[in-house]
């Protein structure tokens, strides 16, 4: 039995298989419509995350399975003080697979050690959100046809943004990748990531201005400046509008550059960019469902 805790749990070869399956699901949805009949997915969400939870639920329903679960800690036994270990033991009796989101880092890993069903980390605090990374990779592979030979720009909150960190860690496993990190001084990438890239001899630069880097990019990964990651409101207000992608800036970008975003967007991408064919963040949501379907099938050994 396998779990998914970290996007690097799968080798690049295993990811290729997963993405091939996701491609096939996209091309032949009817073939998979009954694959999970009689199976149940438990979505254990100790903090609200509508998009991720609905994506998992949609994935399981598309496969003909059923969904049970809770969407915040107050409506679960955690409110009574039950431990994650005890909850997952109970959930293991009710469902065949579990997707867990928890505000405390490491909670899904604790669950995995006690679980008799596969556990998927659906986000644990500021630590990991592996299915978002799988979604990002599938989007890139589907729309670009490859996962190597890219100059990747990551923009916004690169200090706290776990999706950006995970994407960097996932992309360094492919050939000829270079990065441009675009962020204010206060929200630069953490030092451990900088050290890792140096150690691996991966080319990267850190810049302040989005406009200067746009012409060089194959991919632009925008991130939200998250209010909850700041200690005070004043810092948040000062930094949140630092980088806004608009139609004018998009004129500087190559014709075939893709704009990705893990969503939700606040105002870092102007709505006028939505109509630009290079803006693929809503397509990303659809790929998220395909990759979660492929993941559920793989972990349930039904692929």
């Amino acid at each position: 039995m396998r779990h998914l805790m970290n996007p690097l749990d799968f080798t690049t070869e295993e990811l290729e298989q997963l993405f091939d399956l996701a491609d096939d699901i996209q091309a032949h949805p009817d073939k998979y419509a009954h694959k999970c009949e009689g199976k149940k997915l438990a979505t254990c969400f100790y903090e609200p995350s509508t998009r991720t939870r609905l994506s998992f639920e949609s994935a399981m329903l598309n496969l003909g399975g059923h969904v049970i679960g809770f969407s915040d800690a107050n409506s679960s036994s955690a409110a009574k003080g039950e431990s994650v270990s005890d909850t997952i033991r109970m959930i293991s009796c009710y469902a065949d697979i579990c997707a867990m989101r928890h505000p405390k880092e490491g909670a899904p890993m604790v669950a995995a050690t006690k679980s008799s069903i596969p556990v998927i980390n659906a986000g644990d605090g500021g630590h990991q959100h592996p299915t978002q990374t799988l979604t990002d990779l599938l989007t890139i592979r589907s729309l670009k046809g490859r996962l190597n030979n890219f100059t990747v720009g990551l923009c916004g909150d690169l200090k706290f943004g776990r999706t950006a960190h995970s994407l960097v860690n996932a992309l360094v496993r492919y050939d000829n990748i270079s990065f441009i990190f675009i962020s204010p001084e206060e929200l630069k990438i953490p030092s451990y990531l900088r050290d890792k890239l140096k150690e691996l001899n991966i080319p990267f630069k850190e810049v302040i201005r989005l406009e200067d880097s746009l012409p060089e990019l194959d991919l632009l990964y925008m991130t939200r400046v998250q209010r909850e990651r700041f200690f005070n409101e004043e810092d948040y207000v000062r930094l949140k509008d630092f980088y806004i992608l608009n139609k004018e800036k998009m004129k500087l970008a190559p014709e075939d550059m893709l704009v990705l975003h893990p969503l939700p967007r606040v105002n870092e991408i102007s709505v006028e960019v939505d109509e630009d064919p290079r803006a693929v963040y809503f397509k990303q949501v659809q790929y998220g469902v395909y990759v979660r379907m492929a993941l559920i099938l793989t972990l349930l050994e039904l692929a």
Binding site: S83, V84, S85, H102, K104, E105, G106, A107, M109, V110, D124, G125, H127, Y192
Partner: protein, 140 residues
């Protein structure tokens, strides 16, 4: 110079940076052992000017000294048997530490879950939490 008598079996921890002995006393769990422990603070030292020394009279198999390497790998560990030094132990950073460092992740609220850290970078002596990969920031 204050003199503390020889021990028959146990450890003499020498060249402890002055002022760190009490921290080591608790980290090694010496407060929980029913054995004779001597702590000498601020002894004269040629190497350090001032140093602390701990002498522990115990069975040499009862103490796990892994944590000492994390506190300071320059501490000298003399293993004593029959009143003589039989070994000078070299301190090596342990690959895993259980119940020594604490993390603020799920381990801080989950019932009876041990705090486990793994050695992520031996050259910089960096330990990370097994559950959340957060770097240990606790001063040992």
């Amino acid at each position: 110079m204050l003199n503390v008598g020889k021990i028959e079996e146990g450890f003499v921890l020498d060249h402890i940076p002055a002022g760190r002995s009490m921290s080591i006393y608790y980290h090694l769990g010496l407060d929980k052992l029913d054995c004779c422990v001597a702590i000498i603070k601020n002894a004269k030292s040629n190497k350090l000017e001032k140093k602390d020394i701990i002498k522990v009279e115990c069975d040499i198999n009862t103490l796990n000294l892994d944590v000492l390497a994390v506190i300071d790998h320059t501490i000298t560990v003399n293993v004593i048997k029959a009143g003589e030094i039989v070994e000078k132990k070299e301190l090596v950073l342990p690959k895993e530490l259980k119940g020594v460092m604490k993390c603020r992740c799920i381990t801080s609220i989950e019932q009876e879950l041990p705090h486990i850290f793994y050695l992520a970078d031996s050259s910089r002596e960096v330990y990370r939490c097994k559950y959340c990969d957060e770097k240990n920031s606790e001063k040992m």
